[in-house]
Subunit: 289 residues, 6 copies
């Protein structure tokens, strides 16, 4: 019996398929888009809206799924959160649901919205947020294009935002962050007790994590004369010890270190100054620390 895995159809789909591919699983949408093929007999994928995945994982139709924390919370789903899939580059960034009002409106805090009307695609999330703040307001389900509705149709909106550009374009002002959300690998509670299926889901978690970690890192290799070893080591980030290999009878060492891609531009000049030679930077597919 394969693990039935829900993948998010729509805006997260391409990023998820790429991430699965980097993890080692080739998922492809064929003639039946609901059941994309995957090259692993122990997995069987389903392509479903991100909004619905946690619901079906909870009910057991799906064994596991990849979806946003926001929709797990919206659905109030009782599932196991296996891992958080944080990714610094485009596609898997944290997103925020915000409470926004028209730039020119008098509303300053959530309390000011008592008795007002709020449109959102996430009604449950919004109602629980209001309840936490003891605010009573009318929450209206929106079919989309929520950010154009205020002020004419509603007084405020609760809407997803990545960069804030759509809010600015619609002249909206954020007055509170309702929820921050990242992508998660989740599992059904019962399935998590099944050792075979759990091992499969944990393998998925390990490989997805390894692929995401590699996205923002590179391997640096260099040759260093004996006298420069200390200075070079000091220039490398201290997180993980570099692999140092003495080249026999040569007075040189070969050094390798995995570093964050973003620091490369700062440490390359220092490494050269410290005496490293023949420095090369190479791409990585996966890292398991």
């Amino acid at each position: 019996m394969p693990v039935i895995l829900g993948l998010p159809k729509g805006s997260l789909q391409e990023a998820t398929f790429n991430m699965m591919k980097k993890a080692g699983f080739n998922v492809q949408v064929g003639s039946r888009s609901y059941v994309p093929t995957v090259d692993d007999p122990e997995l069987s994928c389903r392509l479903i809206r991100a909004q619905e995945i946690s619901r079906y994982v909870e009910s057991g139709v799906l064994d596991a799924g990849i979806t946003g924390y926001d929709w797990i919370y919206e659905n109030n789903s009782d599932v196991v959160e296996v891992t958080e899939l944080i990714y610094a580059k485009q596609g898997m960034r944290p997103v925020r649901w915000v409470l926004a009002v028209p730039e020119g409106s008098p509303f300053k805090t959530v309390q000011d919205l008592a008795g007002k009307r709020i449109a959102t695609e996430a009604v449950g999330l919004t109602k629980r947020y209001l309840a936490r703040h003891n605010v009573t307001a009318e929450v209206e389900f929106s079919w989309g294009a929520t950010e154009v509705k205020a002020p004419e149709l509603v007084d405020a909106i609760v809407e997803l935002t990545e960069t804030g550009s759509s809010l600015r374009a619609n002249k909206l002002r954020v007055i509170d962050v309702v929820l921050e959300s990242t992508t998660r690998l989740i599992a059904n509670r019962k399935v998590w007790q099944d050792p075979v299926k759990r091992a499969k889901i944990e393998q998925l978690s390990l490989l997805l994590g390894g692929a995401l970690a590699a996205e923002s890192r590179v391997l640096l290799k260099m040759n260093v004369p004996d006298g420069s070893l200390a200075a070079v080591a000091a220039s490398l980030p201290s997180l993980h010890a570099p692999t140092v290999n003495a080249l026999k009878d040569s007075g040189w060492h070969a050094i390798e270190s995995v570093v964050d891609e973003r620091v490369v531009r700062d440490i390359l000049p220092k490494l050269r100054q410290a005496g490293a030679q023949g420095i090369i930077e190479m791409p990585l597919n996966k890292i398991i620390f």
Copy 2:
């Protein structure tokens, strides 16, 4: 005060904008897609999901709107239906909501679905349909891709269909038509009592109707000798009398008639046989009978 007119965002949008253009109103989506520009100061447009337009026309936020009958019914909205915008060509065709089940399932009628689970984007419409048939079933809101859900996730679906091809591709069998729907121009009940706004909405209705009528009609012109007049007249559809003009001292008449484009292929051979000569067919922009 211009008339605030709701236009449907999404799948009906392009067809609606084209129809407005043929009617003489140039609507364009600019930087603010919610408020497209229109070259008439007596109109102010709003681009909103078809699902929501009737709701806002009823509440008076919009004075008038163009939307489908299905969503008026789903929302149970109390509005004035000014005119039905039927259009034989692509984009404004009648659509049908159908109850469909997997090809291999045992369900034959709506009664067989008692106690089962049905997914749909139109929950209200589905529940009222079930109530009319005294059937109790679980109706579940679907976020989309409804046609892939049966049989694994639900037992049946209620879904919009134009040609049936998506249903066939997903191996679904239609067991009943829940609702037939066409596009409508609707108005708020109060606004309809305001003579200035009503005149504007009626002008819109006249011009939209004139443009739609012209889409499927053409002008036929021909020359006919005196002796053939009766035979030619008999070959022309009797709906509207042709314009007959005696050409002075020539023994000929020039005849013009607006006819349905679909009958042209049948009457052209008859007109020629009846004695008409120099028959030409010309395109039309608008017709006001």
Copy 3:
């Protein structure tokens, strides 16, 4: 029983569908491309390679078809040629099959190719051409890209050409025209004896001809004072007499004439000089003389 009509799949397909649409028949490729839909219950279309249509019309699987004369000839098909569909604009132009040799080769006439090797997609056509010239040569079937084969793979080719640009690009020299070909409407011999089916095919022929004739013509309308009638008439092409209508008690006549679009630019200045006023040019859909 509808008339089964073969339409050419591939390069001629779009032009044929456009021509059918102008004739009044809306053909559309749906999920089953072999049986495109058509909005006339008396017709049933099949989308088949142009190369094969005449074969199936001859055998009676198809009642009629639209295809090139070249493939009728290649297949040596015994069919009724109902009409030639000549069209001056892009898509339905006459094409030529030519015998071509490398620019630098010594071959000057077909006789020089005795004993040589010729590649072509139209083996039958080529062999009959050689036989007519009493030349014996090896004719080899080509799967395509024929124009790149000479001189390395073969000595000469027989290939279709519209503008000659592909031949020039491959440095080939035409030494003879093997066949000129235009598009034809053809019918099965037996079907042609069936009065109902024959009437349908003749209707198709009339409407296709009317649509093609309208492509290159326009309607000119103008007002002419009594004294200028003769001069204006002299400026109009004499092919079809204009419709002249005396406007009662006004000293003016309204004149209409269908003219070739290509002559408009030359006669407009003359008409104005001859005294015509308010000259307008209008587009046409069909003309039946």
Copy 4:
């Protein structure tokens, strides 16, 4: 000897080719884009930047050309302006060269720019404008993207604007209009004395004017009972008298009138109220008044 006609390469190219096609001349860019083909042996086209056309018409390398008034003025070219090609729709609208400064800058008039630096693609035009206002400033040639240069690189710009949206997007404020410009058909002074070439250029002028006039007009046709003639006539714009044709022994008249497309939506309701019936609106290709 054909007339050598310069056509503008670049942003005006597509609009110019369309206008030529509507006028009856099919211009196509083939393998040599400098000499596009045209289906008239009395014309020979050259595709050249709009900036340079008037220069080569003046020197006699070109006999005539289509270009903007702005570049005729920039080049100070001594040529015959045959006609102004005004077109209400997209592509041939009047454009304006404006003097613009950053929104937050203190400059209010051209006098405030004395001693400052101005970037522009039209150095001559800008210098003559400054001289007219007795202002001395540094004018710097800009290779493009001029509107991003102020305030960092220069103090002000002189730039072409159609709708002003690019200026607003770059937060620039217009302080003066330097030049308004429309498209022109121009001719070389000597060539204009040659009766054969002049006749050809005048034919071009007549047909281009006829095609442009037709773009924004339509033909209205209707039937009017005797008693309503006066009321209907009063509802029609008075610019051009309608063609009125009494239908013999019927008590009805057939009326035709060319009207501006923009007024149709307003006069259709009035015409119907005045008693007109069977009103149809038809498209036009050309109008020669």
Copy 5:
């Protein structure tokens, strides 16, 4: 004298060019598509239909070629098969020619087709297949779109299939596999005796093989403490011994091993459990074992 190498035009073209590029040869289609350029003076490429390549390699017009086994067999060509280019990923997969009949037809085995009509693009292959089964049937050459022909035009088809989706879409049932085929590098028998040309073809074979092998493999690197060496080694596939490097005076070893990409997802968890740390996976361009 360069080696003349035939490359397959059409559906295999892009995959072949990519494979050549990975092998180190940059092939590009320029103005003459029959002779694509290649950045190696010892090679000269020809772009020819896959169907024809083996024919021309046998005759010696080409020295070598890349094509499918199916067309070598169809053509019954006597050539040297230098290597099989198997590639697990898209583009170079094994394909199958199958005998297929309409889903609803009574045919169950090839014997049921005795006396029937079969359409195929591979007539020779089909006839030899039938002969092997002692079945006499009519085999008809098909110009394409073969899968739509049954049952109306023929009783069965023999057609190429990769995934079977086109067969299913046309409601066809496979009743036998006629031939399985992969891509091959082939050489002319005489050329293979020429040591210079043979060395070049063997270099091509080595590099193509190296590039294909690298497509599905990666390099794993990791650090392993002395005590875990045996366990880690046991977790690595045994095909090729890993490179083990003792890091001086540290109690650690650096281990590198090339592994199949498909097993990575299974061995990574095991390696970590066995004690490996800092495991990284890196991409490869080529592998020569």
Copy 6:
């Protein structure tokens, strides 16, 4: 204070952005294209025409810039040339400005153009070239499409060429090379004295150079038995010494060497013959020698 860096807008833009990304700087064009964003607070980018960058670096509005040597020379700008960015692959190749005349013209040398007319986008460069050769000719500024102007509009042109194909297509013959140009990183003379800004510009220079060097190189790794070390070393290019690592107590060495990608296909067969085993080729991101 960040370093203000000018990047070339237009044809060099994409190549420059890619090169910056490989160097470790993510530049993106957002809503204000003049100021693209960059993920480094010590840099602030400006997007300006390549023609103008050196002008603004000289005046100090920009601190540094990437542009072609041709425009530095055309503008006669006094700036520091920090490094030459040579790149063997597409996008950063050396380009040439050539003096070209029509194929059939009598002009053989620059001296033959005395008194003639020359069109060019680089007037200064052309005038200085003519002065060096003591030739007096009329140099005319061309707004583009210069290569179509000879012989009709001018006698010769000075134009940029990469491959010569545009010149050949326009039947032009090169009679002299006026200037060879490559891409340069330049800095303002005063800014170069500021140690903080200079360090930043040198970091940019180091990283851009490292990324460009890696584009055409790969890492080769292999295992070599003791007895084959000399032979293998002899097969490797001698530019940079390989890293040789004795694998303890095994009789083998692990060898790594960075080599030019173009020589790989030639040395791989030799390395294998010399005794190397398990040879792998890997991609590189950056190389700092």
